[in-house]
């Protein structure tokens, strides 16, 4: 296998996903298969080729800072799964 279940576990941790064992095994098979296919990219001569950073042909887009109105906490927090007054809350960190 190109990508072992241990590596899937490591990636899942980095991506903050809780993946159970059966899915880990399935992903190891599927991703190995996909990565084998992606290895065809090794056949391309890319020496000296500048990587594309996107499809927009723009330089930096700058503008003056302009002060706008704040939407306020009720709008900003309208979709918060949990809040305490005007704050998002999360499980205790420290």
């Amino acid at each position: 296998m190109k990508i072992s279940t241990d590596e899937i576990e490591k990636m899942a941790h980095l991506a903050r996903l809780a993946i159970d064992d059966p899915l880990k095994a399935a992903l190891s098979v599927q991703l190995s298969h996909i990565l084998d296919y992606i290895d065809t990219l090794k056949d391309v001569n890319v020496e000296g080729v500048i990587p594309a950073s996107g499809a927009a042909f723009l330089n930096n887009v700058l503008r003056e800072d302009v002060r706008g109105d704040s939407p306020g906490p009720d709008v900003t927090l309208a979709n918060a799964p949990e809040r305490d007054q005007d704050f998002y809350t999360v499980p205790r960190v420290v």
């Binding site: 990508i3 590596e7 899937i8 990636m11 899942a12 941790h13 980095l14 991506a15 903050r16 996903l17 809780a18 993946i19 899915l23 992903l27 599927q30 991703l31 298969h33 996909i34 990565l35 296919y37 992606i38 290895d39 065809t40 990219l41 090794k42 056949d43 391309v44 890319v46 080729v49 500048i50 990587p51 594309a52 950073s53 996107g54 499809a55 927009a56 042909f57 723009l58 887009v61 503008r63 939407p71 709008v75 900003t76 309208a78 979709n79 918060a80 799964p81 949990e82 998002y88 999360v90 499980p91 205790r92 960190v93």
Partner: protein
């Protein structure tokens, strides 16, 4: 008169002559929805009351002599576009309860003209898929044959237009998600040049590839929608500062000169693609003949890096997705797993409860390809190959105005037929991915039906910002083909 058969252009005209009202028009569509939506499943959220209220306002506006092009026209929106006060789920459980506090720029433009927003259409979760089977909420059926998928990821929008639930719809296209469902549902789909349309309020999947565009009954309507949605937006720094033409001039150009003087290239690499259905090849050959009869000169061209497009795309898109989707962490919006005492565990449980299998698969691929030790081999190399793909296109467009191909190698497959093997599904995107990689515009126009009655479409691509050529050629092709039947018969 059957109001639900009206195109945007015809509805505009009848509304301006006050021969019909927007309320009548909207009711006609809502009656179709009541009758057939259970079978088709095009919508995640319907806003009947909102639509009728908007229609009433539109009628007042028209009576006051203030009709804008989209005033009173019923439009459906892919549920990946933020609508203030109306649930926007992205086809995902993680955003199952998400109500945006602002409108996407394209939605704002529709509202400014008092268009009637009829509802939010189904999609593959976060637009990741080619069949609309990856939605967390429902499977949309192809209106031409309900055993088959409508394509994806904008399958709900394409099905809604084909089933005559609305005059037209907006979709999004990251690797073919407008053009491929349009092809499978026998409607017109246009992916504009990257940067033509503001992405503000479009929930990002792969930001360097995503673009919003129209799905309509015909090419004229696609031109009308382009007139509304294009243009620079300070809220999207990648939106182009290019002047926006009147896209309907493409139709006048056709009336004047047909397609004389246009050159269309067929890449030799496309002819050798494995797994093209013979009926798709035959449809494509007929399309070539039709275009030639209209004055198009067909030339042979080469896009040498075609064999690497799928591989490069399925690195770049998941890398961007893994980064974009990190924001859904159960803190600011969407669902949260409340069982965890620990913050990392809360993130993990929230995400794995909220995201479906294809989304988690792409997040893992992207995380892997961006991780230390693999970045250069995967993301770096794929980005270099992307440069080579872009160069292929700019060289090809020295020789031709259009690049022709089928939209998809086969007609729509059966529901459930292709869900076991992700790679097979990825490979079916071969003709559509390049336009996103290169940033060029592409249109899908209905090209005929298979012996089983399933639609097939042709794709045309053009230089950056040359949507006019796509619309002109698409209009000429559509008129010459005069495809019948225009609509599926639903039961």
């Amino acid at each position: 008169m059957d109001l639900h058969t009206l195109t945007i252009a015809k509805a505009q005209k009848l509304l301006s002559q006050e021969k019909i009202s927007s309320v009548e028009l909207t009711r006609a569509f809502l009656e179709r929805v009541d009758r057939y939506e259970d079978g088709i499943g095009a919508f995640i959220t319907l806003d009947k009351a909102g639509a009728l209220a908007q229609a009433g306002l539109a009628d007042e506006q028209i009576a006051a002599g203030n009709q804008a092009p989209f005033t009173g026209i019923p439009i459906a929106l892919k549920d990946l576009l933020c609508t203030r006060g109306v649930k926007t789920t992205c086809g995902s459980k993680i955003l199952g309860n998400f109500v945006p506090q602002y409108d996407a720029t394209v939605v704002e433009k529709l509202k400014k003209e008092n268009a009637v927003l009829i509802g939010k259409t189904n999609l593959d979760e976060f637009a990741m898929g080619s069949s609309t089977e990856n939605s967390a909420f429902k499977i949309t059926k192809n209106p031409w044959n309900q055993d088959h998928v409508p394509g994806g990821s904008s399958g709900g929008s394409a099905a809604a237009v084909a089933a005559q639930f609305c005059c037209g719809a907006l979709g999004t296209d990251t690797g073919g998600s407008i053009r491929q469902p349009a092809s499978h549902c026998s409607v017109v789909g246009l992916k504009p040049t990257y940067g033509r349309v503001s992405r503000f309020g479009l929930v990002s999947y792969a930001s360097s590839l995503d673009q919003i565009g129209p799905i309509t009954r015909d090419v004229t309507d696609a031109a009308l929608m382009m007139n509304l949605i294009c243009g620079n937006d300070p809220k999207d720094s990648t939106s182009a500062r290019q002047a926006v033409p009147d896209f309907t001039q493409a139709l006048n150009q056709f009336e004047k000169n047909s397609l004389k003087g246009m050159k269309a290239g067929i890449p030799k690499e496309y002819l050798g693609v494995e797994g093209i259905d013979p009926e798709v090849s035959a449809m494509f050959d007929r399309a070539k003949t039709i275009l030639e009869a209209q004055g198009v000169e067909i030339v042979d061209i080469s896009l040498p890096h075609t064999p690497y497009v799928v591989a490069a795309y399925y690195i770049i898109a998941p890398c961007e997705a893994s980064s974009n989707l990190a924001r859904f962490d159960g803190v600011r919006y969407g669902i949260r797993d409340h069982s965890s005492q620990d913050i990392i565990e809360m993130y993990k449980k929230t995400k794995s409860k909220g995201f479906g299998p294809e989304v988690q698969r792409r997040i893992i691929i992207g995380t892997y390809a961006l991780s230390a030790g693999y970045y250069d081999a995967y993301y770096g190399r794929a980005s270099q190959v992307r440069t080579l793909i872009m160069e292929d296109f700019s060289k090809a467009f020295d020789q031709c105005d259009l690049i022709l191909s089928p939209v998809a190698p086969t007609p729509a497959f059966k529901i459930g037929e292709n869900t076991g093997d992700p790679l097979t599904m990825y490979l079916s995107d071969i003709f559509t991915l390049s336009a996103n990689m290169a940033g060029v515009p592409g249109i899908s126009v209905p090209g005929g039906f298979s012996s089983k009655g399933l639609p097939m479409g042709i794709q045309m691509m053009a230089k950056h910002f040359d949507e006019i050529s796509l619309l002109r050629a698409g209009f000429g092709f559509e008129r010459a083909l005069d495809l019948k039947p225009g609509f599926p018969s639903l039961s």
